[in-house]
């Protein structure tokens, strides 16, 4: 129960942050990526602000034996850079640059009640489902 409430509150903060910084507006994101044209550096401040906090807080949090509401930390353990990682990231960047949405803002923008974010999320789910169907 406690961990579900924690997840809800974390989600609320995340959604607030994405919307206040207007990452839910595709033009803000595409203009960030348009470094040779109409550049909008805002996304660097969003990312910078977020990483500034996590860079410090994670140091302290990961010194604990375990998280407050769970038995253990659930962290990725791999450190090798393989073709799946790079290929996946390359594809992700292409999709990001096409519409101006990554998963977080796409889902948060559902709250606008527009067709475009809804279609993005439908595509997102189908793409994830399609990946699951592939043989490993």
């Amino acid at each position: 129960m406690k961990k579900n409430i924690a997840a809800l509150i974390a989600g609320l903060l995340f959604g607030l942050g994405l919307a206040i910084s207007q990452m839910t507006n595709p033009a803000k994101v595409l203009n960030f990526l348009d470094i040779t044209g109409t550049w909008d550096p805002t996304l660097a401040f969003v990312m910078g602000g977020a990483v500034l906090v996590t860079l410090i807080s994670f140091r302290f949090i990961l010194k604990q034996d375990r998280p407050l509401f769970e038995g253990q930390f659930h962290l990725p353990t791999r450190s090798d850079i393989d073709s799946r990682l790079l290929g996946g990231a390359a594809l992700f960047g292409i999709g990001w640059g096409l519409a101006g949405y990554c998963p977080g803002p796409g889902v948060a923008a559902l709250a606008m009640g527009l067709w475009e974010p809804a279609l993005f999320v439908v595509g997102l789910l189908v793409g994830m489902w399609g990946f699951r169907r592939l043989p490993a």
Binding site: K3, S21, L30, V46, L110, G123, W129
Partner: protein, 145 residues
């Protein structure tokens, strides 16, 4: 290059909130705030605990709705792309983030903070292909902006 619509303070405040969210989720639940992983875990991935993931996503929507309601100017949507592009982009992002084990939040906000070499490689790669895609669409094909 011309700088347009730059909103550094709103960006920084939003970023600090996102950082606080990721810190809270790791500190309390021991989880990485990676949105693509949370979406997949709540829907297409078998097994695992779905309840917290759905609640996180509900919060994500609720938080955004709250900001759209309370913060002037936050409810803005501008795009030159026709709607099918959003569907196709979603497909590519969904597939790509699973193949590459994460997106802007998991690899970006959390992975960089953990100084993960995989995350650094991921961020450099998706930034590069994102910039390249926008360059091709806007400056070679002349669509948008």
């Amino acid at each position: 290059m011309t700088i347009v619509n730059f909103t550094p303070w709103a960006g920084l405040i939003g970023g600090l909130l996102i950082g606080a969210s990721a810190s809270l989720l790791l500190w309390l639940n021991g989880r990485i705030a990676g949105i693509s992983g949370i979406v997949a875990g709540a829907t297409v991935e078998p097994g695992g605990d779905r309840a917290w993931r759905w609640l996180f996503l509900a919060g994500l929507l609720g938080g955004a709705a709250l900001a759209f309601w309370l913060v002037p100017g936050s409810l803005a949507f501008q795009s030159d792309m026709p709607w099918p592009v959003f569907l196709v982009a979603g497909l590519i992002v969904g597939f790509g983030t699973r193949l590459g084990s994460g997106c802007t939040s998991g690899h970006g906000v959390c992975g960089l903070a953990r100084l993960s070499p995989r995350s650094l490689a991921s961020v450099a790669t998706f930034m590069a292909t994102g910039i390249l895609t926008v360059f091709v669409i806007r400056h070679l094909l002349g669509v948008g902006a």
